[in-house]
């Protein structure tokens, strides 16, 4: 669809949408051209209602750090699911913060205090081990990462899936043995055995004994399985 447009207009098409996380308030924004058309004046009004006198003085960067890492999905492990970066979430501390990947696979968490944290990556079709991340206050936010599933420590925060998940069972290909093993296959097999092997068995039986058994049968009236098969006694 987009390939049909000229390359010059392609950038315009790629409009970007801005999302703001907090409850978006409609902004009272109006670019107005006043006396000189060059000077665009942005009137920007801010409602500071109920905003008590506690305006933050400093953002407290001494004890909060940014964790930056990268998610890499080797091409060989991608089966079926296209590894789309837009569908991958990175979760800090069980949902305290959720972020997404940039096109190059990088992600970052801002304003993380020093301490031990947990980072999980959720991507459909892949299983990632949770990562224990130690942010050191002494070394100015130096990050140490360990995979909690394999207890392997990472030299840099590059997260790769432990395995690719296959959500569906694979259909077994056509197999004669599978058919034979199915209940109906067993039934057929049993019948074949009875039909072709029983006469052989009967041949081995002494004719006199057979006659006697048949007489017994007649006397009993109702034949029973055990009396039919004297050999099994």
């Amino acid at each position: 669809m987009f390939s049909s447009s000229s390359p010059g207009s392609k950038k315009d098409l790629e409009t970007r949408l801005l999302a703001f996380d907090d409850n978006l308030r409609t902004t009272t924004m109006a670019p107005i051209l006043r006396s000189t058309p060059l000077a665009a004046l942005l009137v920007f009004q801010i409602s500071l209602f109920f905003f008590a006198s506690t305006l933050p003085i400093s953002s407290g960067t001494e004890d909060s750090y940014t964790i930056t890492g990268r998610v890499r999905i080797p091409a060989s492990t991608a089966i079926g699911h296209a590894a789309k970066f837009s569908n991958i979430n990175v979760v800090l501390n069980g949902g305290q913060n959720i972020t997404f990947l940039r096109p190059d696979g990088y992600f970052s968490f801002h304003k993380v205090p020093a301490g031990t944290h947990l980072i999980e990556v959720y991507a459909l079709g892949f299983f990632f081990s949770p990562v224990r991340v130690d942010v050191s206050a002494r070394h100015h936010g130096k990050v140490q990462a360990t995979l909690t599933e394999t207890r392997r420590s990472l030299t840099e925060l590059v997260l790769e899936p432990l395995r690719a998940d296959q959500y569906y069972e694979l259909r077994e290909p056509f197999n004669v043995m599978a058919i034979l093993k199915s209940p109906m296959g067993l039934m057929v097999g049993f019948m074949v055995v009875v039909v072709f092997l029983m006469p052989k068995l009967m041949e081995n039986i002494d004719p006199e004994e057979l006659k006697r058994t048949q007489e017994e049968l007649r006397n009993q009236g109702v034949p029973s399985l055990s009396s039919l098969l004297p050999a099994s006694r």
């Binding site: 669809m1 447009s5 950038k11 315009d12 098409l13 790629e14 409009t15 949408l17 801005l18 999302a19 703001f20 996380d21 907090d22 409850n23 978006l24 308030r25 902004t27 009272t28 109006a30 670019p31 000077a39 665009a40 942005l42 009137v43 920007f44 009004q45 801010i46 409602s47 500071l48 209602f49 506690t54 933050p56 953002s59 940014t66 837009s86 979430n89 979760v91 069980g94 949902g95 305290q96 913060n97 959720i98 972020t99 997404f100 990947l101 801002h110 205090p113 301490g115 031990t116 459909l124 299983f127 949770p130 224990r132 296959q166 959500y167 569906y168 109906m184 057929v188 074949v192 039909v195």
Partner: protein, 948 residues
């Protein structure tokens, strides 16, 4: 008796030895499950229609979803869930790939504002202005870096309010970010409410009494106030409210249940231009051709919606007037967004996106609804199930299979499919046949109980009945308040209960559900009850109950028409009995002494048990009101323990047998009590997020408390662990998920409770001689002799919610349904969380199906019941039994909805859907043929024998 136990035990052993994990073939997707995607109530919408290609509208919703919708069909293209925070993100439109992200410096959460230049082009570096936490940020649109370098030097005017009574104007040089000038002025009366910007140098606000409009001018950094009482504009005015839509030189004020348009003159003079009825929704203004600005308004007229587009400068000019028939159960129009397009005759056409009171989203164009989406279903608050009507004899059933030939053909196709001999066309035909098969979306009850209704209550106060077969909405109903007062026209729904489920008597009555609502958000607000017929979706009756609703307790008693008795507790400590009939009262009086309930005061760390005392005294009280007395209290020390989770068993859960057989033919008796409460507490320091506490500072303690006597039956402490705790309680066991700080991993613990007092009944001779206490009455007052077994395992994922499967008779083994933070649902067999698991199970234990102990629970990808789908924003999982013992319904809700049918031990009591009848038939035919052939052969042989 012993035989029966033995038989059932054998059955159990048989069931448990048939180890299965939930698994699905790819071609079975959609046979038993359905998935519906929603986005929630739209807050903002931006149309994206200028360029060729797909026309879209980008919306952000109250569920923190940013989505792009196709304008022709309303399909979702891109959906992204974002979290609360102070982060600015830019998304690439075609595929929803995040382009950049930047964090704003703000130590505290505050209202945030965002200003984006219109006609944002990527190749030009316009700054985006954002305000958060007292800081103004200018951010580059290309990479999200914080910049202050617009193309030309300009002055940014910033007007803010301090202490809600002082206006401040800053002039900021947009190149350097320096404050050029600053001026402030105090307005003694104070401001309140929303701000409406009317022009480049004027805004209109309300004063704190909400009766005077204040025009603030800030031309060239000077501030001037001009007061205009609202009463000058309209007669007998009450409290006014400024509506947010932005109209140039105009402000819309809601007063006296009407909306008035006030034009702001050059000197700050205000004059009323037009007025509309109160229930009008307006859009923001939109530039149309020839430097004109238009806006849309929508209001109800009878059963129709009137949509009008007018010019802002000239309210008499109506560009568009359309009236559209609208379902009454959508309520009023809440929001309107408009967009214009050029018709083929070069005139302006308009399309409007409207959000209704029930949160549904509709696109209107040329006087018709192009598409509609039931976005109310993105905010489901409570779910219950209901039966479908029984099939009547007269009702003709749509013929699914016409003739025997067609039937055989279908099964031959299926056989080919299962033998993997089918061509792609055949596969498609099979899939289509399966989808249509067996009338799975019929509106009548079926023999297996697979067809059911899920009744969902949404935050907007609307009830939806969803069919389990295909997920379609059978009926929907918006709750109405019976009194229609101004304060409570639309009550908010709280919870849903099964009111009347005819089983044995009153079979001619339709089943009904009870919807408990509240007039207002405060917990002391008066409640509203509504009774809704499940078959028709019509409200049978509704009533204002005149007291608040704190807790609704369904009692285990029904009256002669099978209406369930309910107790509703109010804020004053009284309980009220419903239904208000003398029959219900007499039933309740009989059980008066046996009704107990408990309350949890989470902030104070107190759990109280209550019993019934007497009828209410006082003039207003009726005979259905009762006072209660406090029976016991459990107080947790507030300096060391904070309640983070409480849980009881589902009241309608069925337990098949109390006995559980051990490997050495030993019997264990489950302690099955409906009055057990699971409580989890953490140290106050550990109540925060992971990473905020060290292992030494945090401990997790779980309790099992009897809610009749207040006795603590069991206490288990986990040092170095913290919440959040997600738990599930079923039969005699609790499974809970928490975080272990020492190992820095999530952990799952199972606790099973067994009855010690019955342990000596194991002796067969005692049973024979009648010296057992099996028939001894059980009293909730007696001190139970019990013991517990528990075991812990690691689990590799964060969890949002845990549920457990439930079946009709409770015979089938259970599965835990774990909703992960990745919005998938994992089915985990209960046998993985069995305290009897050991490292090396003996042969007998293996035969019983005990799995060797491992340190962590397995996550098998095939046991995700959501397979390759996500239930975006998952919040809860509901299970309900089908009539067929092996099968259970699972319904998960969040922003998306997902339903599937599970058979935790496979469908041992019915043939599988893909059972090959054709193969059976072929086998039989082959056998008959073989018999005939062998008979002929034997005849011949006999004949030749005789000839010899």
């Amino acid at each position: 008796m012993a035989m029966a136990i033995k038989a059932s035990l054998l059955l159990l052993v048989f069931l448990s030895s048939a180890i299965v994990s939930f698994s699905l073939y790819e071609d079975q997707v959609g046979l038993m499950d359905w998935h519906q995607r929603y986005i929630g109530k739209v807050k903002h919408a931006v149309f994206h229609t200028q360029k060729a290609g797909r026309k879209r509208v980008i919306v952000s919703t109250e569920e923190n979803v940013v989505a792009s919708l196709d304008l022709r069909h309303g399909e979702i293209y891109v959906i992204t869930l974002s979290s609360q925070g102070s982060t600015l993100r830019a998304w690439n439109l075609p595929d929803g790939q995040m382009v950049w992200e930047t964090s704003l410096h703000s130590a505290q959460i505050s209202k945030s504002l965002l200003s984006v230049p219109i006609n944002l082009k990527v190749d030009k570096d316009y700054p985006i202005l954002a305000f958060g936490g007292g800081y103004l940020h200018a951010v580059s649109a290309i990479d999200g870096e914080r910049v202050l370098q617009p193309p030309e030097s300009s002055i940014i005017y910033v007007l803010g309010f301090l202490h809600s009574s002082e206006a401040v104007v800053y002039q900021i040089d947009s190149k350097t970010g320096e404050v050029v000038a600053e001026k402030s002025m105090v307005f003694p009366d104070g401001f309140s409410g929303a701000v409406s910007s009317v022009s480049s140098d004027k805004i209109v606000v309300l004063d704190s009494t909400r009766s005077i409009l204040v025009t603030i001018g800030f031309l060239d950094g000077d501030i001037s106030f001009q007061k205009t009482p609202v009463s000058d504009l309209v007669e007998d005015s009450g409290n006014a409210e400024i509506l947010s839509p932005l109209l140039s030189n105009m402000v819309a004020v809601k007063v006296n249940r009407r909306t008035i348009f006030v034009r702001v003159g050059g000197e700050g003079k205000l004059e009323v231009v037009d007025s509309l009825s109160d229930e009008t929704a307006m859009s923001v203004s939109l530039p149309v051709a020839d430097d004109q600005v238009a806006f849309a308004s929508a209001h109800h007229e009878g059963s129709k919606i009137q949509l009008m587009v007018k010019l802002v400068d000239d309210l008499e000019t109506v560009l568009l007037r359309e009236s559209i028939e609208m379902d009454q159960h959508r309520g009023r129009v809440d929001k309107v967004f408009i967009n214009n397009y050029i018709k083929t005759d070069m005139s302006n056409g308009f399309r409007a996106l409207i959000v209704m009171e029930d949160h549904s989203l509709l696109l209107l164009q040329q006087g018709a609804i192009v598409w509609s989406r039931e976005e109310g279903l993105a905010s489901v608050t409570d779910v219950t199930t209901a039966e479908l009507p029984v099939e009547k004899d007269g009702v003709s059933v749509a013929k699914v299979e016409h003739t025997l030939v067609d039937w055989l053909k279908g099964h031959m196709l299926k056989l080919k499919g299962s033998l993997l001999l089918a061509s792609p066309e055949d596969v498609a035909a099979i899939q289509e046949m399966r989808m249509k098969s067996s009338g799975r979306s019929k509106l009548t009850r079926d023999h297996n109980g697979f067809r059911k209704l899920f009744i969902a209550l949404t935050r907007a106060g609307k009830l939806f009945a969803l069919h389990t077969g295909d997920g379609r909405i059978v009926w929907s109903m918006l709750l109405n308040s019976p009194s229609k007062s101004e304060a409570c026209e639309r009550p908010s729904g709280i919870s849903l209960y099964q009111w009347q489920v005819p089983h044995h008597h009153a079979m001619d009555e339709n089943p009904s559900v009870l919807v408990v609502g509240r007039c207002g958000s405060d917990s002391s607000a008066p409640g509203v009850l509504s009774f809704v017929d499940v078959y028709t979706g019509k409200e049978i009756s509704s009533s204002d109950i005149g007291h608040s609703v704190v807790r609704v307790m369904p009692l285990p008693f029904t009256d002669s028409t099978e209406q369930r008795l309910h107790l509703i507790a109010d804020t004053e400590g009284h309980v009220h009995l419903y239904p208000k009939t003398s029959e219900a009262l007499s039933i309740f009086q009989r059980e008066f002494q046996n009704v107990y309930w408990y309350t949890v005061e989470g902030d104070d760390g107190i759990i109280r048990g209550h019993g019934m005392k007497s009828s209410c005294a006082g003039e207003t009280a009726d005979e259905y009101c009762f006072t209660t007395k406090e029976l016991w209290t459990v107080v947790f020390p507030s300096e060391s323990e904070k309640i983070i989770s409480t849980l009881t068993r589902k009241p309608n859960e069925v337990v098949h047998t109390q006995a559980k057989v051990n490997t050495d033919q030993d019997l264990l008796y489950k302690y099955v009590s409906r009055n057990l409460l699971f409580v989890a507490t953490v140290s106050p320091k550990g109540a925060g997020e992971i990473g905020s506490v060290t292992p030494e500072e945090s401990a997790l303690v779980v309790y099992l408390i009897d809610t009749i006597t207040g006795r603590i039956l069991h206490r288990l402490s986990h040092q170095g662990c913290q919440g959040p705790v997600h738990a599930v309680f079923s039969e005699n066991w609790v499974v809970y998920h928490y975080f272990n700080l020492r190992a820095h991993k999530y952990e799952v613990t199972v606790v099973e409770i067994y009855d010690q007092s019955r342990a000596e009944n194991k002796n067969v001779w005692k049973l024979v001689l009648g010296k057992h206490n099996l028939t001894a009455p059980i009293s909730s007052y007696s001190r139970p002799e019990m013991f517990t077994k528990s075991q812990s395992y690691f689990f590799a994922q964060s969890v949002k919610t845990i549920a457990v499967t439930s079946t009709a008779k409770g015979i089938t083994s259970k599965q835990l349904l774990i909703g992960t933070i990745g919005d998938q649902i994992l089915a985990l067999d209960k046998r993985f969380v069995d305290p009897r698991r050991t490292l090396n199970p003996s042969q007998a234990e293996k035969e019983e199906g005990i799995i060797p102990l491992t340190d962590s629970l397995p996550i098998i990808p095939q046991s995700y019941i959501t397979h390759s789908l996500k239930v975006e924003g998952l919040r809860g999982i509901v299970t309900a039994p089908a009539k067929l013992e092996s099968t259970t319904h699972v319904f998960a809700y969040g922003v998306d909805l997902f339903y599937t049918r599970l058979a935790p031990s496979k469908t041992y009591d019915s043939l599988a859907d893909d059972f090959s009848y054709a193969l059976l038939l072929i086998t039989i035919v082959a056998l008959v043929a073989a018999i005939y052939i062998t008979w002929v052969i034997s005849e011949k042989k006999e004949l030749s024998e005789k000839w010899r």
